[in-house]
Amino acid sequence: MRVNVTVNGRLREADDVWEGESLLYVLRERLGLPGSKNACEQGECGSCTVRLDGELVCACLVAAGQAEGREVVTVEGLAELAARRAGGSAPAGEERGEEGPPGAGLSPVQRAFVDAGAVQCGFCTPGLLVAADDLLARVPDPSDADIREALSGNLCRCTGYEKILDAVRLAAARAGETV
């Protein structure tokens, strides 16, 4: 079947989609967006986390056909989403950052993860970024309990989580400063 879905603001079309296929497979294998990771395919790890019509979901548990006509934001779209929220256009170097210095074209949450050392192997990072971004959009000044709860569906086997918590606190603090 064919699936039409808006991904990161652009209308995309996937053909020959198998009826039992997940949104995660469509994103990674048919639309060339490998940012969302596939680790467990059973909702346990959160590495496939995306927004579906604004809601945080595991892309591995959404049937491709259920995404028909809907809007998806993946980690690839976070910088643009952040720029749009801030009322500007996409930051320079957004296309892979080839032109600008390293780190150009990152959303504030992404930059905070880099600065706080919250990325080791990086496999969990895209899902955590989407989840952290969702939290900060809803709760600009989250408590530690808020952060733990919001990230409870995302597993990381490298960092021990402390640096990830630091990164979210850092992103929140920086956003607070600019207000």
């Binding site: 039992g20 591995c60 709860e149 569906g153």
Partner: protein, 295 residues
């Protein structure tokens, strides 16, 4: 495989009548796991996401009529007042991502003995609104669970909604697992005080082939509370009374040994949860009794 995408409830019922083997797909948090792991290859998937009615709820005089697909997150946000037990249970389901998609209709469809809605629905009192092209019937929730992962739905029926009694007293939910998030219950317990009816109702999860009420424990407590005049006095419950209630609740279990826990542990834990949830709920009841009497 065919992907059926009804746009209205009537179309969904017609599709289910035409293809009784079709597997309804709501949040997909059970179904998609089975498909991803090739445990299930249904001929038809019946997507219910486009049917707006299933995502709505109405609060009536006696009941909340909860649309089958309302995600747990909405229940936590909007229905904590009328459905405190279910809201507590919803908060323990999976993770934010799972709670944004998973629904009570899906929990009932899956009918796992470990489903967290079940103890809360049993304790509150609820009927499942099952509908087909032939008509609608209301199935009392205690008769809905017919076996391990089996329910009372006919092949052409879908769950339209669940009618859940609005709380008229404190409700509690407790669940044993290895951590706070992302845990299938080792066992779970729901308890609701119904001061208007002067009754206590319970629900046990994951400690028998199906979710069930601890009837003997309820009957014992109803009689003891009436006899001691506790509903009126709002007095502290004697420890012996709570202990016997806990023993009877543990006795209602018919658990198995599995990777999550032994039968003996489950029976013990249900007793502990029964005693604690009763204590918490009774404290709240006493608190509210005191304030109404002082006012």
């Amino acid at each position: 495989m065919d992907f059926l995408r009804p746009g209205t409830w009537e179309e969904a019922l017609a599709a289910k009548a035409e293809h009784p083997s079709a597997v309804p797909l709501a949040g997909g948090t059970d179904v998609m796991v089975e498909i991803n792991f090739d445990h299930r290859r249904p001929e038809y998937l019946l997507d219910l996401n486009r049917i707006g009615d299933l995502y709505e709820w109405e609060t009536g005089e006696r009941d909340v009529r909860l649309g089958a697909s309302v995600p747990y997150t909405r229940i936590m946000e909007h229905l904590r007042g009328p459905l405190p037990g279910l809201a507590l249970a919803a908060h323990t389901v999976g993770s934010p991502q799972i709670r944004n998609r998973g629904s009570v209709g899906g929990n009932l469809g899956a009918a796992s003995p470990a489903g967290d809605s079940h103890p809360a629905l049993l304790a509150a009192g609820a009927e499942v609104e099952a509908e087909s092209v032939r008509g609608t019937r209301l199935i009392p929730v205690e008769r809905f669970y017919t076996g391990v992962k089996r329910n009372a739905l006919e092949p052409d029926e879908l769950i339209r909604a669940v009618r859940i009694r609005k709380a008229d007293g404190p409700q509690q939910f407790a669940k044993v697992g290895t951590r706070n998030a992302m845990v299938i219950a080792v066992c779970a317990f729901g308890l609701a005080l119904h001061p208007e009816a002067r009754a206590v109702r319970t629900g046990i999860g994951s400690a028998a082939p199906t979710p069930l009420r601890a009837r003997a424990a309820e009957e014992f407590l109803d009689a003891a509370l009436a006899e001691g005049g506790f509903w009126d006095s709002g007095r502290d419950l004697p420890p012996s009374l709570a202990r016997q209630f806990a023993e009877l609740a543990a006795g209602a279990c018919n658990p198995i040994d599995d990777v999550r826990g032994s039968a003996r542990y489950r029976r013990h834990a249900v007793g502990v949860m029964a005693r604690r949830t009763l204590g918490w709920a009774w404290d709240t009841y006493r608190g509210s009794e005191r304030t109404t009497r002082c006012a």
